[in-house]
Symmetry: C2
Subunit: 635 residues, 2 copies
Amino acid sequence: MPYGYNNKILRVNLSTREVAVEEPGEAFFRTYFGGWGLIAYYLLKELEPGVDPLGADNLLIFASGVVTGAPVGGSGRHAVGAKSPLTGGFGEADVGGFWGTELKRAGWDAIVVCGRAQEPVYLWIKDGQVEIRAAAHLWGKQTADVEAMLREELGDERVRVAQCGPAGEKLVRFASVMHDVNRAAGRTGLGAVMGSKNLKAVAVRGSGRLEMADRETVRELARWLQGEGMKGWLPNLRENGTDGGLVHLSARGGLPTRNFQQGSFEGAEKITGETMTQTILVGRDNCFACPVFCKRRVQTAGRYEVHPVYGGPEYETAAALGSCCGIDDLEAIAYGNQLCNAYGLDTISTGVVIAWAMECFERGLLTKEDTGGLELRFGDAKAMVGLVEQIARRQDHVPPALGRGFGDLLAEGCLRAAQTIGRGTERYAMQVKGQEIPMHEPRIKFGLDLGYATSPTGADHVHNIHDTSYAKEGEAIRNMRGLGVLHPVPIEDLGPEKVRLVKYHIDWQVFQNCVALCIFMPYSREQIRDLVRGVTGWNSTLFELMKAGERAMAMARAFNYRQGLSARDDVPPWRFSTPFESGPAEGVKVPEEDIQRALALYYGMNGWDEETGAPTAGKLHELGLSWVADLVYGA
Amino acid sequence: MPYGYNNKILRVNLSTREVAVEEPGEAFFRTYFGGWGLIAYYLLKELEPGVDPLGADNLLIFASGVVTGAPVGGSGRHAVGAKSPLTGGFGEADVGGFWGTELKRAGWDAIVVCGRAQEPVYLWIKDGQVEIRAAAHLWGKQTADVEAMLREELGDERVRVAQCGPAGEKLVRFASVMHDVNRAAGRTGLGAVMGSKNLKAVAVRGSGRLEMADRETVRELARWLQGEGMKGWLPNLRENGTDGGLVHLSARGGLPTRNFQQGSFEGAEKITGETMTQTILVGRDNCFACPVFCKRRVQTAGRYEVHPVYGGPEYETAAALGSCCGIDDLEAIAYGNQLCNAYGLDTISTGVVIAWAMECFERGLLTKEDTGGLELRFGDAKAMVGLVEQIARRQDHVPPALGRGFGDLLAEGCLRAAQTIGRGTERYAMQVKGQEIPMHEPRIKFGLDLGYATSPTGADHVHNIHDTSYAKEGEAIRNMRGLGVLHPVPIEDLGPEKVRLVKYHIDWQVFQNCVALCIFMPYSREQIRDLVRGVTGWNSTLFELMKAGERAMAMARAFNYRQGLSARDDVPPWRFSTPFESGPAEGVKVPEEDIQRALALYYGMNGWDEETGAPTAGKLHELGLSWVADLVYGA
C-alpha cells in the first residue's frame, strides 16, 4: 500500500472515449513527486515537437502532488498543465481549494486527457468509476451556474468541479481552469486547452481516506502551524488576504502601476486588502486543511453587483485590474474579478493586457477606431470592466478597424495583439515568452527579473524569488545558510552569489510545485522535508528534494527546447532596466549589463546550453534524466 | 566563541623563520570545512602555475577538519597536503591517530608551511607558543627514534609528532608524512615535500578543550556507535583489522595479485587478517576517541625482527607488499611495513613499484644488470624487503647499468622509473597520474575504475567508491535513496545511473575528507550531518554538505588544471579492461567502451570541460567559487 499517492493515473482519450489506468510505481512518484514534475514527464514523453496547443494532440493534465490532501495547512493544492497556447512552451499552473484533495480521495493521483470530444462533454469521477458525459447543456454557462447544475444533476452537494468557463470555450489564450468556482489555475492559458478539447468540466467525488506513513509527524506540523507558525505574518494574511499590504508595497515603490510605468500608486489605499476588509468583505475562505483562511468573500450591490460565490480579489487581481490599470475603484476591481472567475480568465494576464491597451491608447498608438469607440485611459474602471467582458467573449461587434474585434484581439494576449497591430505597440507589451508579467516589480527585488526572463512558463511569480528578506539577517537567510549560501545578499545585487541564491530558491519553489504545497506557508525547508517523509515514508533528504526541483525545472526547459523555444526567448523585460521617473524608488533600475551577466551566470550554474537554453546532456544525466538526454540529444 | 574550529591558522615561513596567525572566520570554515577543502583553498590561492613541488615555493599544509577531535569514533583524523611531487597536481592524504586532535587542542586548525629551512628544523607547538628549532640531531633518524628523542628533549611523553622520515629527507616521491610513528599520511609524496623543506618534524602538545555547540548530540552519536553501530562489521574490523577478510576478497577474485595480473592469490590465507590475529598480533590500537581499535600491533623475532611500536600491516599494506608482489610471508610483510613506517614510505606505492619491477623482470624487460644482481621474481619476500630499504635510502651502490642506482630509480615511482628505462616497461606501471594504484580491483566493482581515472590526486581509494553493496538491497542503497538514487545498480554497470551514484558517493567521500571523518565508520549521512551540526552549531543540511564535497573536488580539479594537468591525464588503467585469465572472476573485464562512455558522463555530470578537465565557470560559480572561476578563466 503506497503512502502519499495512489499509484493510479487516469488516462482519458476524448477522441475515442477510451479510459485507461496507469500504475507507474513508487520510483515514478519519488522521482517526479507529482504536480509540475508529473506534468513535465507526460508532456516530454508524449508530445511531438510542434504540436498545436489547441489541437487534439495536446495533453491536458490535472496532477496532485505527494502532499496533496495531507491534513496540514498548504496541502490543498494541485497543478494543471499542457503545452501552453499562450507561450507555445511548458504550460503549468498551480491552484488551491478542495478539488485536488477530492481527486486523490477518489483514488487518483492525476488525470491525463488527450484527444478532443466531438461534442461538449464533462468527466464524472466517483471513486473508481469514470464516465464521459454530454455537456451540451453546460456549454456557454458561467462557472457558478455550471457547478450548481452539476451538483444538482449528480445529486451530491459535495462534488468538486474543475471547469474551463466560457473564456476557455472561446479559446482565449489566457483562459484559466477554474476550481470550486473561485480558485484559478490561472496562468499559461490552460482553460483554452480544456475548451479546445470540448471538455467543459471535471466533476470529482471521492470517499477514500489518504493513508500516511507517519501520521504523527504530519499532525505535529499541523499543530506547529496553528501555534508557532501562526505567529508570523499569517495573522495578517488571514485578516486582510493576499491583498493586505498592497499599500505598503506602493509606499516602497514596488506596486506595478499603469503598466509598470510607475511603482507606486496614489490610489493604493483604496484598493489595499485592509480597505477590502473594512468595506466589501463578507467572509473568509480556506483551502483544504488550512487554518489561514486567506481567501476573500466579498459582496457589493450598487454600481456593480458582486456575489460572494466568486470569492474576492487576490493581491494579483487587485493590482492587475487596479493599480496596473491606474484604477482605484475596489468595487469595480471586485466586479472584474467576478467576471474573470465566472468566465474563466486569468486575472493577471487580463489586467496586463488591458493596461497595455491603455498605455498604447494614451501614447496614440491605438485609437477609438481600433477600440470600437472606447476611450482607453488609465484609471477608467468602466472601460476595464467592459474590456474584461469583451475579452472573455472574444467580442467582435465593434467596427473592425483592425480587421477583427478588439476583444477578440486582446484575447490573444498582449504580445500577439501587439504583433497584429504593429505601430510599435509591442514595446509596451509587458510579457515574457508571450505571458503577461505578474504583479511583482523587479526594481525592488532584482533577482525577480532573472526569474521572469528564464521561467519556462513565461513571466511567473509562483516559481520565482520574491522574498526580499535575503537582504538582511532573518529566518530566510538562516534557511539559505542551510543550503550553503552564507551571507545576506542585497536586493539590488545580481552578482554570482545572488544568482546562486536565486537558483537554489527557484529550484526549491519548483519542488514545492511538484509536491503541490502552498508557497505562503511559513514552513522551513526541513519541515517540508519532514512532511514529505511523514506522508510517504521515504527517507528523503534535502539534497534529494532540491535535486527534484532542479530536475523538474530541467524537464520544463527541455520541453521548451523540443517545442522550438531557445535562449533567445529568455528576455528580461526592457522596462525594468529603465529608471522609475518618480516615486519612492525614483531612479532605480535593473542595470542592463547586470541582468545580462546574471543571465549568463544562471545558465552556467544550471548547466543550460547558451544557445538552445536546454540543459546539457551531462546535467540531464546527473538529474537521473537520461531518457530526456536521449530525447533531446539522441541516444 | 567558535565551535568545531579555533579560527586560527598558523603560517610558518621556514625561509624567513617568520610565524604568523590567520583568522579567516566562520564563513571560511563553513565553506571549506577543513581538511581537503582547506588545503585546496591555500594551494589554489597561493601557488603559481608550474611551481616546483620540491622547491621552497610549494606549501605544506596540515589541516584538521571541523569534526577533528570531537569525542566520537572516527573523528581522530586530519589531512596533509601540498602540490604533489608524485603527480604534479593536487596532493592530499588523510591520516588518523592523535596528532590532529592535539593540534586542535593546542588552539590551531591548520598549519601552512612555506619556504625552506637552511638547516634541518622541527616545529614545536605548545598551545599558542610556536618555535622553529634545530633538528640536525634528528636528521637521518628513523621515526620511532625521532619520536622518542623529541619526547625526551621536550620533557613530555604526550607530545605528538608528525615527521617525514629518512625517505622524505631523500625526496622519495612517494614518501609519507608519519604521525605517531605508525599512522601514515601516505599518499601523493607529501613526506618528500616535508623533506625538501628541511622540516624534519612537527611536535605538538595542546591543553585546550574543544568546545561544541551541542555536546549531547555528539555524545548520543558516540553512544550509538558503541551500541547499535558496533553490531555490523565493526567487530570484525576490531578483531582482525582492515586486513580481515583479505582471504574472502581473494575468493571473490578481487585481490590485486602479481601487479594486478590476477585477482586471487593462492597464498591469501597466509596473509589475511585472521591469520595475523592468530599469529603475530600482540595488541590493538585506536585513533582518538574510537572504540573500534582496528589498528594492529605485531611482533616477530626470527627471520625478521618486528617491533610493535611500528604497528602492523593494514589491508593495503598486506596486499601491496603481499599478494601484489606474489608474497605469502606475513612476517616479511610485517617487516616491510615496519621499514615503510620507520623510513616514511607509502606502503601502497612501495608495493606497487616493487610489483612493477617484478613483472618487468619476469617479462625480461629488466635484468640482473639493471637490478644490481637481484633476481626479481614474484613471491620473493627477501627481494621485496631488500627493495624497500633500497628505495627508502635511494640506494645507489648497485652497478649503474641504468645510469643510476636501482633503488634510487624506484624511488621516483613506477611511472618515472619506467619512462627512464623505456623498453616498454611503462605498460606495466600500474598508476594514474603517476600515483600507484591501491589495493582495490575495479574488475569486481566497475565504478572504482572511474574513480581511479578521475581522482585529482591520482589513483586513490580514500575518495572513491568501494562499497559493492550498491548491487543489492541494504543500508547502502537505502542511504543512496536519500540522495535520489532509487535503485540498486549492479557492480558491472557503468551506465548513467551508476555514474550518478559514483559522483554522489565520491563527492560525499571528499566531504568526509574535508571534515576529517574516518570512512570506516558506519554512520549514515544524516548522522554525519547531525555530528557536524552538533559540533559547529550550524544548521547545515545534506544539500549544503554534498555541495561542500562537490566544491572541494572542483577546487582540486581547478588546481590541477592550473598546474598543467588536463583531461588527457584522466586515463583508466588499460589492465582493468583486459579479462582475468583465471580465477573466480575469470573472463571479467571493464569494457573499454563502457569506461570511456562513463568518463564522458562523469565529466558532464560534474560540469568539467572535456578538454581541460577543469570545472566550467558556471559550475564554479554555482559552488560559490567565483574567485576560482576568476583564477581559471580571468575576471
